[in-house]
Symmetry: C2
Subunit: 111 residues, 2 copies
DNA sequence: ACAATAGTGAAGTAAATGCTTCAGTGTTGG
DNA sequence: CCAACACTGAAGCATTTACTTCACTATTGT
């Protein structure tokens, strides 16, 4: 389910914006309210809420409202899915290069 | 240089599109020409070239033209940069949870 | 009770994205 | 030489994105 292409779209899309990455960065140091997330960002609170919606839709962030304050947290499982996709491709490529290296090393043993 | 926010924008943005991820996936199995990249995709060659430009601008893919065929390759360094960003945030979050777990375990030693 | 707080929702807008088609350019096999 | 091949580039177009402002709804501290 976490390898669903559409889910990966949403995730990478979510991480493509610097404001959203900053929000994730903030949340990686601990939970925060919407206003706390908004504080370092040079944009309206409305804009921040919209970014938050993107992050929640992507599964990267979860939030809960208690009274009038909504508290947000990272969902590390989602981050792991993105990491996993990248890791697989990078590994495939690097294994290929290794095999190629081995091949070249072998075939140059024409002494 | 690889931690430049603008560069990360381009990278995650590049990975946000399923067609582009498919291209990266193909390239992770070895170099390919533009037409080879285009072959499994249900879109015009022009569109594929545009996706390729996005991938090259992001640093994820490098290409070189010999005669009339352009050969594309993955740039694993770039993939590593994206992976690194994610990894740092996830680790920060998980360390936090661990510390919190320790704290809770300790303070419940009120026997 | 009431003002301040914390967030929500709906428009509206400018710019960016993901295509398309069509008209090229340089390369190469026969 | 010339037709097929492998792109390349520009223009156009529909949709999505990243905001804005403004009006509004709950909560809460005093």
């Amino acid at each position: 389910m976490l390898h669903d292409p559409a889910q990966l779209d949403l995730m990478f899309q979510a991480l493509a914006d610097p404001a959203r990455r900053q929000m994730v960065d903030r949340l990686s140091r601990g939970p925060a309210s919407v206003s706390q997330l908004a504080e370092p960002l040079a944009m309206s609170l409305s804009a921040v809420v919209q970014h938050l919606n993107v992050l929640e839709a992507s599964g990267l962030v979860r939030s809960e409202k208690l009274g009038r304050v909504r508290t947000c947290q990272i969902e590390p499982k989602a981050l792991r899915a993105a990491e996993h996709w990248i890791n697989e491709r990078r590994n495939a490529w690097e294994r290929r290069l290794d095999r190629l290296g081995d091949f070249l090393a072998e075939t140059s043993d024409e002494t």
